[in-house]
């Protein structure tokens, strides 16, 4: 137990330093930070305008109202804000480092290398985007009447936490493919495109494709499942399936990582 506590303290200290260096790096490039925030606002506005145009002709899409879809969009952005802030860009860099051979320096460090690859920096430039996410979520919630009990709230938060873990493990699995194929940027881009399917209600997809998005490439667990649980549109046991999905993806990602390291070829000096 004491060993575990020491380990947690050690990794928290290490993370503190990594966060500190990320802040210092961001401060150096102030203009870049400002522009990143602006890009995010533009992207969010585009999505809202698109949804508004669609809803001019209809009241509901697959049983979802405009504000329900806005809530889905807000939760999706909340998930991806965390994803990009905490690990997605690090995993993108990992893919690049494997191709360039810069991954060598990580592999030589006497710490959990998976931790170092995933959480070596925080992208604080995205912090500004939190404002528009909060605005979209707040406005959506004020327009919705949500009847939910305490268990429902707990289930919602469990599914939200699972969503972060699932996004992380899916991204990590895809990034680990770079250890086998050297260039895995296409896989990563493809995954990013696929995540767009999570911006819309799952009910609009056909049965087979929906099953694929639930259980093969579990993108619907990102934002759809938490939102649908919050809106009572999905049975609560889906939160439990989310927990099982986390365990399953952890196992898969560990196997991929370990076998990938054996295949790692580095790059010439």
């Amino acid at each position: 137990m004491r060993r575990l506590v020491n380990k947690i303290v050690r990794y928290l200290r290490l993370y503190f330093y990594l966060v500190k260096f990320s802040v210092m790096s961001v401060i150096i490039y102030r203009l870049n930070s400002l522009l990143m925030g602006v890009t995010s606002i533009i992207w969010m506005l585009t999505m809202i305008v698109f949804a508004s145009v669609v809803f001019k002709g209809v009241d509901q899409i697959a049983g979802w109202t405009f504000w329900e879809i806005m809530l889905l969009l807000g939760i999706h952005e909340l998930i991806f804000l965390g994803t990009w802030m905490f690990f997605a860009q690090n995993l993108g860099k990992f893919i690049y480092d494997v191709r360039q051979g810069s991954f060598d320096k990580t592999l030589l460090k006497p710490v959990n290398q998976r931790f170092l690859v995933s959480f070596n920096s925080i992208d604080f430039t995205l912090l500004g985007s939190l404002v528009n996410v909060v605005v979209v979520l707040s406005v959506s919630l004020t327009h919705l009447t949500i009847n939910i009990d305490l268990l429902g709230i707990i289930t919602f938060f469990i599914s939200l936490i699972c969503a972060y873990f699932i996004v992380y493990f899916v991204y990590f699995c895809v990034s680990s493919l770079s250890l086998f194929f050297v260039n895995a940027e296409t896989f990563s881009d493809w995954l990013l495109e696929m995540t767009d399917f999570d911006r819309y209600p799952a009910e609009i997809y056909g049965e087979i494709f929906r099953t694929f998005l639930f259980f093969v490439l579990p993108i619907l667990f990102f934002a759809y499942v938490p939102t649908a649980i919050l809106l009572n549109k999905l049975p609560r046991y889906y939160a439990g399936i989310g927990v099982l999905m986390v365990i399953w993806l952890y196992i898969i990602s560990t196997i991929l990582w370990k076998s990938g390291l054996k295949k790692y070829q580095s790059a010439s000096s």
């Binding site: 200290r13 290490l14 810069s102 060598d104 320096k105 030589l108 460090k109 006497p110 710490v111 070829q265």
Partner: protein
């Protein structure tokens, strides 16, 4: 005690061979040709604790691949590798805390921050006690004369300054085994000299085991008594630096200064004339007849000055790598 042991190490890569141009790229989409590249091909050697060994060879000889197998970055195709009693590719934390790999062409410092920040991060990663960290840092910065640049952004440092900081980052945890892959590459003559002095002092004071690869023979000549020469993935020489001359150069060089013009054809009877521009001539003669040839020169020619020399190590190595006869 042995610090490093390699037995029959092989590291083969399967590489995709693509024909040049767009048509080659399209063809490779449908049918790919693969070839096994023998980066390291059945090499064996041992290195004792505290030794400083030069590991030399031409580009693509397998030097860096060997170092990467030794540091645990690469899984060998086959063979036995042991460093400090550990199997490197297990990448155990206790092992990684005792080694360091410095690659002259790769950067491990945080590019946008001062080098000091990377040192602090390494203190956390390697779990170096604060007192020991400060003492080692003080020692290293003084030896490498970089105290005044520790707070300067890494990207603003010169190559020489950056390389010194890279070395400090690699040595803060006082590794028992140090792999130096071309640490002086791109450095000016003064910086090269300082780097060599530092490596020599460090090896002597800390008794650490060091493998050094370098394209600069000056590094190897100044620092290493023992040299391992690798070519096409195979060890072609492992021994004292002084033995290289005996093994690969069966000739000696006689440099002569003449007092009068001579007949070059007559000079060719003594040995192979490498160069003749009056008054100087350079003749290559068989090692065993060098003294006889010298006395013939003194008797038959108007000699003002004469020197018998060993072939320069640089020349021997160059000729060995290019597959030509040594002078």
């Amino acid at each position: 005690m042995q610090a490093i042991e390699i037995k029959n190490l092989k590291k083969y890569y399967r590489v995709h061979k693509k024909e040049p141009g767009l048509s080659g790229s399209i063809k490779s989409l449908f049918k790919r040709k693969y070839e096994d590249v023998k980066a390291v091909d059945n090499i064996s050697f041992q290195i004792e604790e505290g030794e400083l060994v030069g590991f030399i060879g031409p580009n693509g000889a397998g030097k860096t691949t060997t170092l990467k197998c030794l540091s645990g970055l690469l899984y060998p195709t086959s063979g036995f590798v042991s460093v400090l009693g550990y199997t490197p590719y297990d990448r155990k934390k206790e092992f990684l805390k005792q080694i360091s790999l410095v690659m002259g062409q790769k950067n491990q410092l945080w590019w946008d921050l001062p080098a000091m920040e990377t040192f602090i991060l390494n203190r956390e990663i390697y779990e170096i006690p604060k007192m020991q960290f400060e003492k080692t840092l003080e020692e290293l910065t003084a030896l490498l004369e970089v105290k005044d640049i520790l707070k300067v952004q890494v990207r603003k440092l010169s190559l020489g300054q950056r390389m010194k900081c890279e070395l400090i980052a690699a040595l803060l945890h006082s590794p028992k085994v140090l792999f130096l892959d071309e640490p002086t590459i791109g450095l000016d003559v003064v910086s090269q000299k300082k780097m060599r002095d530092f490596i020599r002092d460090y090896n002597q004071k800390k008794k650490s085991t060091i493998i050094l690869t370098s394209h600069y023979m000056g590094d190897v000549k100044e620092l290493c008594q023992r040299v391992i020469i690798i070519d096409k993935g195979r060890v072609i020489f492992d021994g004292q630096l002084s033995e290289i001359t005996r093994k690969f150069a069966d000739h000696k060089i006689i440099s002569v200064v003449f007092s009068k013009e001579i007949d070059p054809k007559k000079l060719a009877e003594i040995g192979e004339v490498k160069d003749y521009h009056f008054p100087k001539a350079v003749i290559s003669v068989k090692r065993e007849v060098a003294s006889v040839s010298a006395s013939e020169l003194l008797q038959d020619f108007p000699v003002a000055d004469l020197n018998i020399e060993e072939v320069a190590i640089e020349d021997i190595i160059r000729e060995v790598f290019t597959g030509k006869d040594v002078l």
